[in-house]
Symmetry: C2
Subunit: 445 residues, 2 copies
């Protein structure tokens, strides 16, 4: 690229939001990306760096001399900085350390100390504090003084000398108040907070429930040690929901997730094989059941023809009921104690479904098997009737199993998402075959 | 409840966040709930009212005289107010109207005019504006003057005389700036925005992508007409994801969603029956395929015994690949143009899966069917081998179909979520049976 084009590109990029610059840089070769990056102010360089994918960050880190990188590093949001630090090898960490100020060094080490699935693991320390005895104008003065660009100032936290959280004021309220008023007059003393060891999903749900911009995080001494902001909460919720769907489909969820195309084949394989093998192994039971009825199948091949219909319909009905129950569980609307209510509800819903699907099954058998040879003692409509009844019973039992199984797993402390679609399908296959052949050997033999 | 207890309850409630008060009120009989509500300031009453479920809001609305209700109504956030207004009957709307100020009346009518799945339908008008030529202190003065409690002041929008959006400043930057500076000196002129007719999910995704607290909404003349805030975006994303999961499981998604237990049986039924019947009807094809092979089944009943294994394994493998592709599509990582890459990737992954599952299938057949009588010209290990090969081919074809079908549906302008689990299962059942019996009649007859 010529110098002129470069100037143009730079002028263009400097007006774009950080995430878009990051997206543009991804397409560039690392040295070129670095050159583009260097036209920005340090603060903007940090914002762009944070928005790059991990692989690109690593490339740039390796190219940059550590003194220069430390300048970008210091401007990164504290949580992203700690995450990046943790992604480095011990040697790389040691190479970077000498160029960091003591405060940054301590901050990085502190934030790296918490497990990443806790509030401590996703919090940042970019918040501002004031004291209770300040006036509004003193408070604003303090905020002006120690609020460099990166800080979240939507809420300003009020702490005592021991850093205990006393309450908060919003910047808005501070601005709207009279300068001579006391902070204590405009203080909110009732605040929502999380503890540093809380699960990160709980923290995200609190932010969602109370519509917060950020939530203060306290340590075991009730000292304010960090905040989690709404955009991090959104990331957590987004990640959680996509993981849930994967679990539901029998895909093992890993900690670090790259995109579909980036993830190597071997990794995809290892995430999928576990459940597939487990379910296939479990399927031995349906093989055993069928094995019992080989004689019956031999006599009435027509029964084999409708086995897929039985399996599909049962699996679909069970998947539906398990999905709605898992969703109701995850928003906390349904609890284990509701199991009887849920069962009654599913029994009513599925009876209606069963009637429709039974009639359809009867029509299907009568239509498709009209040419099939049957033993002389059986009429086609009688066989169709028995199959339709079996399908109906299968729909009802699958719906009830699909609803009660997640409740039970939840009750036992497990994750209800794992007994969704594929697991339910495999389980109701077994009950379905037992119903089908049980009924057939009773009524058709 | 005695008066003394009431006082206590009220004292307790007044310290709680609105959403918790709303949760507490739900348990109370409407008249009692009203009495509790009346101890709050009008502003707090509005916050609590907004957090009540629709049914409870209706009850309270019917109990309250319209003059008193209009006071609560005026304090509600503008978007929630318009939503509630739309939920009223024409008679109720007419009864409320005379008690509203002209400004509120116009605001409600304006916000009610947009389809609820667009930016206009979820936006609110609780934002503050300043002019470009103001100084920082004049701007702060204006914000102080016309910012009653409900306004979002995180961003303050800068507009010209025709209400065209020129840029924005953050309250933080305004507070940190020198009072004598000009607004134009601290202005951000590059802003992310949405148009009023944009899909609400796109708006929510912009807020998520750019980590915004709110996004300005422009009309066709580029005038600033509203904002959508981060908590509303979170609601949209949450709703979207739960709807996606329902779609994936073949549950029809309705506009207004009540909880699982609240939703009447009939409504659950109507949401589930459509796909179940459609899939069952589509299943006629697998019936037709099987019908073709009745002779073969008659001769080799052992084939029937392993049909469920074939169907389950194929369905599970197909569900997995469709899930990961649907997720990659929804975050925009994969596009239709990647189809060849996706196909190659799934071919490699599924070949590895196929080898494992094929070996497992061979072992299963050899173990379970050791006692089965076979025609004298066939050995058990040969039959097991053929079944294992069929299962392997089924895993590969299901994975590829599961991955390519959502891509195709997306390309055709449809929603890829509808061709997930149940649909894929039904489709790969058909291809699976064709592979299975095709291979069997070629190698075993």
């Amino acid at each position: 690229i010529q110098d002129k084009a470069w100037d143009k590109l730079e002028a263009l990029l400097s007006k774009m939001p950080a995430i878009e610059v990051a997206e543009a840089l991804q397409a560039l070769e690392p040295r070129k990306a670095l050159r583009v990056l260097s036209v920005f102010k340090m603060e903007a360089q940090a914002s762009v760096f944070v928005d790059l994918p991990a692989k690109k960050q690593e490339e740039l880190f390796n190219l940059l001399d550590k003194r220069r990188f430390s300048k970008i590093f210091q401007e990164m949001p504290s949580d992203k900085r700690a995450d990046f630090y943790q992604s480095l090898t011990a040697t790389e960490q040691a190479a970077l350390m000498p160029f960091l100020s003591k405060a940054i060094r301590e901050n990085v080490l502190e934030l790296s100390a918490y497990p990443h699935d806790t509030a401590g693991g996703i919090m940042n320390t970019d918040f501002a504090t004031i004291r209770l005895k300040m006036t509004v104008s003193q408070a604003l003065e303090k905020v002006r003084r120690d609020a460099p660009s990166g800080k979240m100032l939507y809420y300003i936290y009020v702490v005592d000398e021991q850093k205990h959280l006393v309450g908060f004021v919003t910047l808005k309220r501070l601005v709207l108040a009279e300068p001579t008023q006391n902070v204590s007059e405009i203080l909110h003393t009732e605040y929502i907070h999380s503890m540093i060891t809380d699960d990160r999903e709980e923290v995200a749900r609190l932010i969602e429930k109370y519509d917060l911009v950020a939530i203060p995080i306290l340590n075991e001494y009730d000292q304010l040690v960090g905040i989690v902001s709404h955009d991090d909460a959104m990331d957590v919720l987004r990640k959680e929901q996509s993981e849930d769907l994967q679990k539901i489909m029998g895909i093992r969820v890993a900690d670090e997730e790259a995109g579909y195309l980036e993830t190597p084949v071997m990794r995809h394989f290892s995430k999928r094989i576990v459940w597939l093998v487990a379910l296939a192994a479990f399927g031995i039971i349906s093989g055993l059941v069928l094995h019992q009825y080989e004689g019956l199948l031999n006599k009435l091949v027509v029964l084999a023809v409708y086995m897929p219909m039985l399996a599909d319909t049962g699996g679909n009905a069970g998947s539906q009921s398990s999905t709605v129950v898992i969703q109701a569980l995850s928003v906390g609307e349904v609890k284990f104690s509701h199991w009887f209510k849920v069962m009654l509800k599913e029994a009513s819903i599925s009876t209606m479904l069963a009637i429709c699907l039974g009639v359809l099954a009867f029509a299907k058998v009568a239509f498709l098997s009209s040419a099939t040879e049957l033993p002389s003692e059986l009429s086609l409509s009688y066989v169709a009737f028995v199959i339709a009844v079996a399908i109906s019973l299968q729909v009802i039992s699958s719906s009830i199993i699909g609803a009660l199984l997640p409740l039970t797993v939840k009750r036992l402390g497990g994750d209800p998402a794992v007994v969704a679609s594929p697991a339910i399908t495999t389980i109701v296959d077994i009950t379905g075959l037992m119903i089908y052949f049980g009924l057939a050997s009773w009524l058709l033999l």
